[in-house]
Amino acid sequence: MTSIRKVGVLGAGVMGSQIAAHLVNAGCDVLLLDVIPDWEFDSDELEDAANRNSLVLKGLAMAKSLNPTPFALSEFAKLIEIGSFSDSREKLENVEWNDDLEKLKDVDWVIEAVVEKVDIKHKLFRQVADIVSPDTIISSNTSGIPLVTLAQVLPDDLRKNFLGTHFFNPPRYQAIVEMIPTNETSKEVLAYISDFCDQRLGKTVVIAHDVPGFIANRIAIPGVVKNISAMIEDGYSIEEVDTITGKAIGWPKSATFRTLDVVGIDIVASVVNNLHEALPDDFYKETLVLPEFVNQLVANGWIGQKAGKGFYEKIKREGQKSKILAVDPQTLEYHPRKKPKFKSIKQGKKIIDTAQRIKFLINGEDRVASYLQKTLLSTLSHAAEYVSEVADDIVAVDLSMKKGFLWELGPFEIWDALGVSEVVKLLEKNKQPVPALANDVLKTKRKSFYFSENGTTYFFGCNNRQYEKLNRPEGVIILKDLKDTGHVIEENSEASLIDMRDGVWCLEFHSKMNTIGLDAISMMYTAAEEASTNDACKGLVIGNNGEHFSAGANLKLIVKTLLEGKEDKVERFLKEFQDANMALKYMPKPVVAAPFGVTFGGGSEVCLHADMVCAAHETYMGLVEVAVGLIPAGGGTKEMLLRTFENVPHDLGLKREFDPLPFIQRTLMTIGMAKVSTSAFEAKELGYLRESDVIVMNKDRLIAEAKQLVLTLSRNYQPPRQQSVILYGERLYSALKSGLYLMREGGVIGEYDEVIATQIVKVLTGGDLSEPERVSEQVVLDREREAMMFLATQDQTLERIANRIGKSIKSLKMLGLGLKAKNTLSRLNVLKKGGRK
């Protein structure tokens, strides 16, 4: 089998164009084709390629306009080769132009994403079969047509290379692909394409059976329908259901109805109907019918976000705050959204562990419990009933729910959390069928779907009814596994130092949102010190398996300390953070940071000081301190200044004819506008990452990749030599200040933004120095702190922080209460203004 370099995507609709985009993100050559709209143009007009390609162009334009964007960098869109084909090749006689379908002979993988009609797909596959080389992999993104039906029209040799690859919308951000082999798909092809989707496209791959709805839709959709019908039957409101089925049970914040609004109620309705049609007659099929009011919404065109209204409607009147309305399922009238107050949900918020929280909620006596007993319970039993029909094992089902629908826990993990025997009892109590699989689990000694022993996890086989070892894919490091097996070197409330074997250690942040507070900083020191002195250690990875790398320095801690009037303490905190970053930068062993997801402020600063960064494709990196009225003062401004002139030859930097202004302007804009990257590629453009930093598509593989980099770097490692920084002084300071004045006058920035930006300019240029000077990093670090402390004591900055952390005045008062700082009260008065916004 040849390796995949070029991929052909057929169909430039919502899925096709976005899949093409993500393939470009992954560095593939992509050919995107759609049908020639010969019903719109006469044969003369079809001479013009722009007319022939009009559907593809439209699809690409749509993809470009999407937010969040499917492209890691907007210019990637240009890299997609486009073309078109005729759906009836007999029409092609006597034309001057070529049908671009021929170009498929050069591609290694064809992904079909055309309209969900068997005859159209068959016709297309017949054409494709004539063109492609025999070892081309062919897959369909169908979500509704059995793959075996589609395979029929392919010749024998191509049927071996055919399978379903079901991407979720939006394909860049949904971290899952369902692989659906037919019984003719070769094992090699399945393994190869699974590996490709995993490593190159960054997806979690689950193998699904060729059954209606595959795994994810088959297991989740009946649950969604159940959520809606239970609401109608028992008289809950939309808002109540979303309160119960959101973060409370480990589902995304958008819960049931807001998710449906985003996906599109029409789309969901058609998925439900198709699934209903395709399913064999049984108990579940009967219940798989959407309540009438949902069909009514679709009929009215109120199909969710894209139509402006659905289950919710967002109303924005000029000059007013936007208001959210919710629909009444009985009357179809919209009313202002009411935040339901469930005591149990409120109490549950205190339970950090999701499994424990679900247990608490479902076992209650209130409306929350009775709703969950009807709905979540049904999903659990449904999953256990059908697991062997849809997948090879329960692991695939749990993964599908977690990656495809962003549940924190998969259904079988919830079974275990609640206790299998408890769930069975609840099912019996609610007169719901008890799946045989659950009864079989109860026959074992363990009485759970999963258990862990000596760092190895085992799961209950749904076919052989025996426990099997859960193999972590090679190249995936789960820090928890290491921690469970005694690999912790040091540990405190915010961070740990873990031995990842082979001489590579990991500095893991694990506070809430992985914010960096005193403990995290002290662990940074410990890591630098221990790693430097311990001969067994070859180097350090800074990474974690959390949802985000780090939301930055602990703002609450900073504001609390400021309110206490202990400015010196804040400055000490900054100094310690700076010193920790410098210690890691200059330690005699390599440090590789592994950011992903939110990597803000202090999180970015940690990465900026690393020897190398191994970033997930989805890395949202930014020095965002300005947003809260501060500046990067953990060494971030200093590092950005260093990087601004990193590639300027040493002797050129101080020459008069070298103009640093446009370079420093960029850096000022990046920090001053608190720019955040929408991908790791963009982080390179913004200067947060170096061109040489590594981008890893699959976040799950990040730490293992970073570990490999440490090993590679460690072989010939030389710690960085002391660097010097050029401060360009007055000429640059005046030019930048003059630019800030224009921006403020032009309304681009506000008055206080100018104050903040001026502080950044001072750090970046050194202020009124008469001529450029080379200084040590420490000089710039000291200026960072000075500027930060100036801002931190300004009322407007405190206001911004108060707004950002969303603290009510009351709770801020609580933070400051009992403290004798003389200006605390006046600060709070200012905060009141800010807090009310």
Partner: protein, 408 residues
């Protein structure tokens, strides 16, 4: 007046004026053409079309607003050499921002008038494509940047200040801009500028997608800035570009267009004109430059116009034609309003920029003063007018106004 001085005072006349077409900066026909090449082309054109002996030209003066990089190194002298004119002809560059081209003409007229020279070429040049406003290496005076930060206000923000001070609405400005386009388009249709434009052979070398060298050659002979598709509706849709806080009114549509171009005139004593048989076209009557606060540079012409009229013992009624540079519609409107309220001078709108102004035709900074002089003289002669006024606002807070008397 003593005898010696009287001997020095000469009657000086403009006998010819030519220019290049005005190109759109950054994407127009001259985006890759050097300003020194444009100026050289005009010098050569003047010598060739008038048939004068180049050895009689005693000096060249060229105005330029950002005389650096491609238009640096004393662009006047560079252009003389580039034009292949005798090395004996010297050249000097002068900068008074947007009046530079006019200033150069006045400088040479006065030099000749006091008897220092007999024949000279004067004009202006600017490539806004190659040298951005602010120059290639922006370096404001630190004291001013700190203590008087409005000194370096951008032109657009200055126009916003005036719009606010004189309550000029977006609609007023857009309407002014629209009329400028209409007048310019009409003039273009009537080929009014053809005789003053020296066609320029543009050459552009690039690589095609396969890396082959592509040489494109064309002739630039038409002012390319006016937009045929401009309408009040289109103008109304453009977003303010300088003040984006919702209160802005100045857009790309009601501002002058960044441009590239060169223009120059041939100046000599009346005696020399008679000797060579060249027809005198116009004579300078007066020239005044005045200063105002930098952030309201746009009203610079108000005082300059008033003083020029006084010094010439003329009233606005005597002026047959006015070329008032349209830096911004808001700025022109302010000049009109303040001339009336502060000086009691009524701007005769039917004689103002009759062939359109910089909003439609472009404003190549240092070239503009010379370009407007040539454009104005030609239109005045078509109308058999007597007096022409050329006036403009100037960056950092100045205004200039010249009055020419047409000769027949």
């Amino acid at each position: 007046m003593n005898k010696d001085q009287r001997n020095l005072l000469k009657d000086v006349v403009i006998v010819a004026g030519y220019r290049t077409a005005i190109g759109k900066a950054n994407r127009g026909v001259f985006k890759n053409t050097r300003p020194d090449d444009l100026a050289a082309h005009v010098f050569k054109g003047i010598v060739e079309s008038t048939g004068i002996d180049p050895y009689t030209v005693e000096d060249v003066r060229l105005g330029c607003s950002f005389p650096e990089s491609e238009q640096g190194m004393d662009v006047a002298r560079v252009a003389v050499l580039r034009a292949g004119l005798p090395v004996e002809i010297p050249g000097a560059t002068i900068n008074r921002f947007c009046s530079s081209g006019l200033q150069a003409i006045v400088d040479k007229i006065t030099d000749i008038a006091v008897g220092l020279e007999t024949v000279a070429i004067a004009g202006g040049v600017e490539s806004m494509s190659m040298v951005p406003m602010g120059g290639t290496r922006y370096a404001p005076n630190p004291y001013l940047a700190k203590e008087q930060e409005e000194t370096y206000t951008s032109m657009g923000l200055g126009a916003e200040v005036l719009a606010k001070q004189d309550s000029s609405t977006r609609e007023e400005q857009d309407e002014f801009a629209f009329h400028s386009h209409q007048k310019a388009l009409k003039a273009l249709e009537e080929n009014k500028f053809k005789s003053e434009i020296l066609p320029y052979p543009v050459r552009n070398v690039s690589l095609d997608v396969s890396g082959n060298r592509v040489v494109e050659e064309s002739e630039a002979k038409i002012d390319e800035c006016p937009r045929k598709d401009t309408s009040l509706e289109v103008l109304a849709q453009l977003p303010p570009v300088f003040k984006i806080d919702g209160t802005g009114t100045v857009t790309a549509g009601n501002s002058s267009q960044k441009s590239d171009g060169a223009a120059a005139v041939l100046i000599m004593t009346l005696d020399e004109a008679e000797r060579t048989g060249l027809e005198p076209l116009a004579r300078l009557v007066t020239y005044k430059v005045t200063g105002v606060s930098p952030e309201i540079f746009g009203i610079g012409p108000v005082n300059a116009i008033d003083r020029a009229l006084r010094s010439a013992h003329l009233t606005m009624d005597d002026i047959d034609l006015i070329e008032l540079n349209e830096a911004f519609a808001s700025q022109v409107i302010s000049v009109i309003k303040r001339l009336k309220s502060e000086k009691g001078i009524e701007m005769p709108l039917d004689r103002l920029n009759v062939n359109g102004g910089a909003i439609a035709l472009g404003h190549p900074l240092g070239c503009t003063g010379a370009y407007l002089t040539i454009k104005g003289i030609n239109e005045a002669r078509r109308r058999n007018s007597q007096y022409l006024m050329v006036t403009m606002c100037i960056g950092l807070g100045m205004g200039a106004a010249a009055i020419f008397k047409l000769l027949y």
